[in-house]
């Protein structure tokens, strides 16, 4: 059976690579593991080896083309079987009578050709594997299928899920001067907000732009915050943050904090977070790696708001470290980086939360 030449998922941050050069031409004989073509990722240029020995046929991408990870760009046909043989073998459809009124019947398409056309832009996954992946909210597009016709089957999803994979933490420092000023102004206006409330608002707004970061199939934005009521830092969840005003958020976090202090935080108020926020600023921590408690839920960490100014400075300037920890099997690194950038930009300019 012909073997598909598949673009390997080489880049952690992009789905498309650039095809730099074919080392073989259509119709050439190639050997398994022999360099077949060169691709350029966002980081490097790499050779891709032939998945099988045979003749290179049906080349569908040329040098300079953008090619999508896991798509098929050619076929290797083993010696003794060729695409043209396969095409020639099925019986020819009987010709319609000359006077037949319906349009001329389509020529018979060889089964192989049909299949190749079908697989060209699609990744097949078995219903069972898809169900499993969706239950675990697992991004199966990047899994390499080992099942019938290259389909992703249950064992492939299990293998990907079980692959030991450390969570990724991305960290950035951002200018917090405007955030501090906004906080001060709101307090001056009698709005009792804490920094967590402002960050919650910023996160909810940013999730609108990057919904893939929100660990929810239903779409609700429920952000968990660690409460600084005791050393355990219990997590409480503010539901539907995206639909709430800053005042409503502030009121709710205050309630949660008081409930936690009184020790009567209801269990359901601690569950169902689709993103979590941990602020260790009050402990004087600059930056840290948050630990993912619920496996599917990305976690944003906020450090101490530091002053950058000298006592002699006329205006005061502040900065803060922001980090994002997530499972790269569930969220692509590039998506996470984009989200963190947006969060940092909105902290730097909180007006963006109004937009």
């Amino acid at each position: 059976m012909p073997v598909n030449v598949i673009v390997p998922p080489l880049s952690a941050t992009a789905d498309t690579l650039t095809l730099m050069e074919w080392y073989k031409r259509e119709g050439d004989m190639v050997l398994k593991d022999e360099p077949l073509f060169m691709v350029e990722t966002d980081k490097a240029t790499l050779d891709v080896e032939s998945p099988a020995s045979g003749r290179l046929l049906q080349v569908s991408a040329k040098a300079g083309d953008s090619i999508v990870s896991l798509s098929r760009i050619a076929v290797i046909v083993a010696e003794g079987e060729s695409l043209s043989d396969v095409k020639a073998s099925p019986p020819v459809a009987p010709k319609p009578p000359v006077k037949a009124s319906p349009p001329i019947a389509k020529p018979a398409v060889a089964p192989l050709e049909r299949r190749v056309q079908a697989t060209q832009r699609r990744i097949f996954i078995s219903p069972r594997a898809k169900k499993l992946a969706e239950e675990r909210r697992f991004d199966w597009q990047r899994v390499i299928g080992t099942g019938p016709e290259g389909a992703i089957v249950e064992r492939d999803v299990h293998a990907s899920l079980n692959k030991p994979q450390a969570p990724i933490t991305l960290t950035t420092e951002t200018n917090a001067t405007e955030l501090v000023a906004l906080h001060k102004r709101l307090l001056g206006m009698g709005v009792p907000v804490v920094y967590d409330d402002l960050i919650l608002l910023i996160l909810a707004r940013t999730l609108r732009e990057v919904p893939k970061m929100n660990a929810s199939q239903e779409g609700g934005v429920h952000i968990g915050i660690t409460l600084d009521v005791d050393d355990d830092l219990p997590l409480a969840v503010v539901r539907n943050v995206d639909k709430k005003s800053l005042r409503e958020i502030a009121k709710e976090t205050l309630e949660l904090r008081e409930a936690a202090k009184a020790g009567d935080l209801a269990v359901e108020r601690t569950q169902g977070a689709t993103l979590a926020l941990t602020n260790l600023g009050m402990f004087g921590i600059d930056a840290f790696t948050p630990v993912i408690a619920t496996p599917d839920c990305p976690l944003v960490g906020i450090g101490r708001i530091k002053t950058l100014s000298q006592p002699s400075d006329v205006t005061q300037r502040f900065s803060v470290w922001v980090s994002l920890t997530f499972d790269p099997r569930l969220v692509r690194a590039g998506t996470g980086a984009g989200f963190l950038q947006s969060v940092a930009a909105t902290i730097e300019n909180p007006m963006l939360a109004l937009v």
């Binding site: 078995s126 219903p127 069972r128 594997a129 898809k130 169900k131 099942g147 019938p148 389909a151 089957v153 249950e154």
Partner: protein
């Protein structure tokens, strides 16, 4: 508890039911003639010695006549067991079975019952095209008939008894290579499974399947001889680490659907093996049920292994090529991994 072949178990089942109920009688070609074989496959051998020729009724070679007598007798209070010498001859009886027996209870608003049992040997055994077909799917398609396919001695006797006591027309398909017929009627290449059969009265309920082998990786559904082909394939596959679950529905109509679905939910793969030819067959029906009701549990395309879409060939090498071999079952299973 005694060890019996399927032919012996059927014979004992008929004997016990005829002793229990005077309305039960057998009819068919050469089923009781002195010096005969006891039907083509020895099932009724010796029964005329005990019950006489009025209850072990030899008929002329007229399948239309046998069907007519049996259906008429059933409608008027008897419980006939009609012996079809070769299942292929059921085609002669088609109008009486499909248009009369199957519909009578419905058309009479339930006032007329047809407690008929018809036993038909099937399977390709080097007898050419007209003595070798597997006709189960023709009859599973007719509403109003119950269709049984026992593959062990225990089931053969237990299902036969359930059939005789049932108020509806019941067809029992029996495989020639499973009977264990002896002497002049022994079959080349027969499996002739011998099984334990209780001495006391028992029945096997109509509509309950059996798991013949437990496995976790693939569900293979077979019937009659193909249950054994599936079991043989399963042993080979086990050597390569694939554990197949083999299901024998035993009753084709009504079907123990849940047993099959439950197994597929566990294994994620289904292969149906049948000796009928492929197109529009019984395997297609099983595949459709699973596709409709367990789609999201499937991890690979469903595969059917069946005879080719030709009449059964006479020449042994061609017949072997035509039939669903163990190798084809193994290949179908492997294609799912």
């Amino acid at each position: 508890m005694a060890l019996m072949t399927i032919a012996e178990a059927l014979r004992e089942g008929i004997r016990e039911e005829m002793r229990r109920d005077p309305t039960v009688f057998c009819l068919g070609e050469d089923i009781g003639v002195p010096g005969g074989f006891g039907g083509a496959f020895t099932v009724t051998l010796g029964l005329s010695d005990e019950f006489g020729h009025n209850r072990i009724l030899d008929t002329p070679i007229s399948e239309i006549g046998i069907a007519g007598v049996a259906i008429g007798a059933a409608m008027t209070g008897m419980r006939p067991i009609a012996d079809v010498q070769y299942g292929d001859f059921l085609f002669c009886m088609m109008d009486q079975l499909a248009n009369q027996a199957a519909k009578m209870t419905y058309m009479s608003g339930g006032t007329v019952k047809v407690p008929l049992v018809m036993r038909a040997p099937v399977g390709s055994t080097r007898r050419g095209s007209q003595h070798a077909q597997s006709l189960e799917a023709f009859f599973t398609h007719i509403p109003g008939l119950k269709v049984l396919a026992p593959s062990t001695a225990y089931d053969a006797k237990g299902l036969l008894k359930s059939a005789i006591r049932d108020e509806n027309p019941v067809l029992i398909f029996e495989h020639k290579l499973l009977y264990g017929s002896k002497g002049g009627r022994s079959e080349k290449g027969a499996l002739s499974p011998i099984g334990e059969v209780p001495d006391e009265d028992y029945t096997v309920p109509i509509g309950k399947g059996a798991i013949r082998r437990v496995g976790k990786d693939v569900t293979i559904v077979g019937k009659l001889l193909t249950v054994y082909r599936a079991l043989e394939a399963a042993e080979e596959l086990a050597k390569e680490g694939i554990e197949a679950e083999v299901i024998d529905p035993r009753t084709l109509i009504p079907l123990d659907k849940e047993l099959i679905l439950e197994s597929v939910r566990k294994t994620g793969r289904l292969v149906v093996v049948e000796e009928d030819n492929l197109t529009h067959g019984w395997g297609a029906e099983i595949a459709a049920i699973v596709a409709e009701e367990a789609f999201f549990y499937l991890d690979a395309p469903i595969k059917r292994v069946a005879s080719l879409d030709t009449p059964p060939p006479f020449a042994p090498p061609m017949e072997a090529y035509y039939l669903p071999s163990v190798e084809r079952v193994i290949a179908a299973v492997k294609s799912q991994f």
